[in-house]
Subunit: 376 residues, 4 copies
């Protein structure tokens, strides 16, 4: 088990540094620093460069995980790692190389591949962390949220606000993989998480496989809301955003652009944001989720912003640039864009389009008035 860095307290270790505004390294200074260490104190003047840089200098690194590698390891785990109470989920998380070996894709975001064998159940639990599932390929698993069975198929996005009971069951005769996104690192650093176990297995009547969940039947009607539910909710009540809708929305943006109307983010770059129909805001209070489509040969405008993002290639092939890294990507590949690192994606000319699923911690920064963005 990682990071059990708790007791005894790590003593402060101070030494004089050279530079503008720094005190002379004299014996008196040494004595002062020993005093600081004893009293658990650290001066600003030696730390200010790391703590207060001119702009975000992310510790997190741009990094790419290949889908075929992820899938192969998940498949092996499927054979030798059980799913059940205690471990809870057969989920394997991306660990940013610069975050101390912790299972954190970025300082705020968790991203994992989850894998369920035919007939398996992932036990019911709930947690305060906000979560979603996104399906890059496959089908056959149903997620049951507060007793509502939600189908998972390629291209579907399933958000789930904190503190809702949920379990999964694989009703098919094949394994299925998908990705999970959560705000686990944010809750971890800010020490704000709650968790509760539910039932080990679902009831028989919950193992149904309806085409549409009850949440969709109530909420997935454009611009219409049930009069019986008039109040806004912090997270979306809609538990599935289907690919057919997302695909059509992206296609229409590009078609409108072709007809001469403003609809896309920039030429050849369409994008939709998944939103909470009760308030039009982000689908989860801490996570912004979007699907981007880049037309053949087109590219997104370079852009950097406060906060981090994780992408998964949903379809097509292309080239992405994150800071000083550049990768050729294809279906399922996942990569991280750290805070304030410039990002661009380009669709290969021989591909019809490049579809990128994206999630980011932007709502946190917008909520505390700390969001900035820039086109370099």
């Amino acid at each position: 088990m990682l990071h059990t860095e708790t007791t005894p307290p790590s003593p402060v270790k101070l030494s004089a540094v050279a530079g503008p505004g720094q005190p002379e390294p004299t014996p008196a200074l040494e004595q002062l620093y020993r005093g600081f260490e004893q009293e658990m104190l650290v001066p600003l003047w030696t730390e200010i460069g790391g703590l207060m840089p001119a702009h975000p200098k992310s510790q997190a690194l741009p990094h790419l995980w290949r889908w075929d590698h992820l899938l192969k390891l998940a498949d092996e785990a499927g054979r030798i790692v059980p799913v059940g109470r205690g471990g809870e989920r057969r989920a394997i998380a991306l660990a940013n190389p610069a975050l101390g070996g912790r299972p954190f894709a970025t300082p705020t975001l968790w991203a994992a591949i989850q894998y369920l064998m035919p007939g398996e159940d992932a036990p019911e639990h709930r947690h305060s962390q906000h979560a979603f599932r996104f399906v890059v390929e496959g089908e056959g698993v149903w997620t049951v949220v507060n007793g509502d069975s939600v189908r998972m198929s390629r291209g579907d996005f399933l958000p789930q606000g904190g503190w809702n009971w949920h379990a999964h069951h694989n009703a098919a005769d094949k394994p299925m993989a998908w990705i999970d996104g959560l705000d686990i690192p944010f809750a971890y650093y800010t020490e704000s998480q709650f968790f509760e176990h539910g039932r080990l297995h679902l009831d028989a009547h919950e193992r149904i496989q309806p085409r549409f969940s009850r949440s969709e039947r109530l909420w997935a009607h454009p611009g219409l809301r049930p009069v019986a539910h008039p109040e806004p909710t912090a997270a979306t009540p809609l538990l599935a955003y289907r690919w057919v809708d997302t695909d059509r929305a992206l296609s229409e943006q590009l078609a409108l652009e072709a007809e001469g109307y403003a609809a896309t983010v920039s030429p050849g770059h369409a994008a939709v944001r998944y939103t909470n129909p009760t308030n039009g805001r982000d689908v989860l209070p801490t996570i912004r989720c979007e699907m981007h489509r880049i037309q053949s040969g087109a590219a997104t405008q370079p852009r950097r912003e406060v906060g981090s993002a994780v992408f998964q290639v949903f379809d097509g092939q292309g080239q992405v640039t994150v800071g000083d890294k550049q990768w050729q990507v294809r279906r399922g590949d996942m990569f991280v864009v750290p805070s304030w690192q410039p990002f661009t994606a380009r669709c290969d000319a021989d591909q019809p389009q490049l579809d990128l699923f994206r999630f980011a911690d932007t709502p946190i920064f917008e909520a505390v008035n700390a969001y900035r963005t820039e086109t370099p």
Copy 2:
């Protein structure tokens, strides 16, 4: 200089653990874990206990810093550490014993004693981090915010939203100490900080020592706002909250309680929150600041909440309990209440009152719908 833990990437280190839901420690598992390590992956099932506890289990520890120790070290620093460009401030931060020697009082909050010698200037700069100053004793320093000179005297609270230019100058013939609070750790973990240097020295006409800043003359009138400034702002435009007002507000709450009216938090426990007059909300988007008064012999109700807080004793003596720690405290002492740790304070029977200045990261959790509180 601390925490230069960046490159090369810390490799993931995994080993099988025993417990419910854990896989058998077989050679196949070992091989799987080596594969995870190579691909920068970490499974949930070994980590879930640390990442998803039943409730916040703070790494941060309750800890107490004695004011006389802080002051003595600050005074020594005053003699041997210069204030100027590069170091920027003679500020000495509280380092929570369980946060790796970093200058973080809690996972989100910075708390420091700052010290300025007679005639000294702290150079102008601005940063996206939100900040405040609180004066437990002394006077003679003026903070100049965007050219507006703000007096600092005992009991005064000086908030300052992110990205405002500010400098300090000590106009007196004695040193002065005060405390600074900022959201530096929050900005550090979430990688969202900006910083810019300003002028090294103030202009002569800014070295005036007005009794009231222009911000007070515009904004410190109860329930009245300038018609020329009709829009809400993210942080308060009022740069000083004077002790005379705070003291009267607390006294009136206790007097109203004595007359039989609901005004206090609980019997013998009065409290005011510093607020932004443009929207009635917290004075800073990320930091809640309050002054609490506990009557002779009275105590606060035990309470725990999501998020962390730092206290400074402003006046009186008493006993505080934080989790399993208990301290007898007096003027200037500072202590930390980590997330979800129960807190109580009691005023000694031979003291007229115990006044506690408190700041906390609550607005962050309220903004993302993650705040909870409980009376154990």
Copy 3:
């Protein structure tokens, strides 16, 4: 032309009244009242009963307009009244019998039947009043809003926030009727209206007849919004809410109820509210619009609320009760529910369902904290 009640000023006319708290009708009182009249003053004590009743006592009366009468008169108007600049629209408004002959269905709402002959244009204009169209039957007219052509077919709801250019053209070989709803009386009483003429005729390229407007192609995707349009807008950007969606949403609510889940307003009574996808709130800042479906033999729960509403029967037959009035209604019939008058609707047992389109001034009262509702 009506209500030219402006100059000269109507003199105040006062006379003593009998009742509790009233002064004796003495010569001194008469002299006082003559003084009031001369100075344009009116005492509270004679007026309080009318001005400050225990609860809203609407001047407006419950009233029913039969669709066949409306249609017949509109058709006659189609033959003899031109459509063009100056008159602007061939719209015929419901005049509540108790509102002085003004074209006001209620004190705040305008409701009219509009009629356009084959090939006719209604000229372009814009106004600050918020508006919508609802189509109870027919097709063939396109409304062009800021150059975007919007088809009008049975069951479609077309909202349009204030100050957007709009025109209509009938592209079919038959006349078409529909209803208009606006907040004209509210703007009239509060004296807050603006109006501007646009072009007399549309450009040729605007006379297209697309199945879906550009607004729908951008916005009519459940829970998805264009990333290029991230800000909330006061009125909905979606210009058509199609019957196929509304019908399905209502059917699903009743199906969910039949399966045992909470989805309807009350047993057998489904309802959806048309909302602005950018904020989840009412489609227009001053007008709430909804479609209600009452199952065969079922009835709505009696209810009264602050503010007035207008209904049109979209389909089916049933009995409605408004205050002390009761009517048997069928397709197209329109009726008014004044403020605080109890309302119930019942679907006839031999009808599959009763569908009622409803619009109300509720957002005004919610915005100023004056909304109340009650189940008698």
Copy 4:
């Protein structure tokens, strides 16, 4: 008693009018109009000029009421009109000459002089209409709001949100006059009012005459709010805004302007808005209240806005221009500025200042996105 214009329904009366877009006055048209009348219908084409003008053309007229006339009549009423249950208040309302003799200063606002004789009680009641009192001169009356006694003295502003119990008692040996402002006309036209009688007389312990109300002791501390009351409220919890604070705020704005800083609305024109400390917004959900100070010889910038306002001269003398009216005004004079009528005020050169209390219906228009303003 006025306006009992309810039953029987006023029949619609239509006749052909000449003008652009109007139908020929033929027998067929006459027959059509008779059909409209019979069916309670009114065409848009004859009404559009009055209903949809290019900009607000207020029916309400600019009008001035002299304070000495008001006071003289109020004093006479004090001798012959009782105060008690039924009549409720000895309040005499300004009746705009163009609003049909109704006691409406503007289409949305009620303004009255209220008068209480020594020792008199005005009985307790509550109503949904929002209200305030403003004291141009005199003292000795206490308003008791939900049992909290609030002193009334020259320059004090006492707001009171809807549905709070309140009574008055004159504890002095002289009569006292003040003005009341309410949203009675708005509630009347929109039919949204509730009213309830309370006790005829106050309890003895409520007849105290404290210098400061409990509400002030809790809430009148700049930027400080009781931690025990963390939620925003629709109307202000602060029941008195004292002249000493208002005067100082205005003086400081002019002093800051003289020192070269932006603080005033325009040169020589200072203004404060009374606000709700729980949210920084208007003190009442429907009424904006402000105090304006114009320096000797200075004038406000001409301005017009959607919605109506009522002014009372608090101090000084000057000239005000409202639309095409111009008056020389002095202490206590009251006047009306109808919607979209340009307004300017100028302080006489031989006066130190002109202080104008102002209230307006702006919050209603801001709430429904209908507010506009313009500098002609």
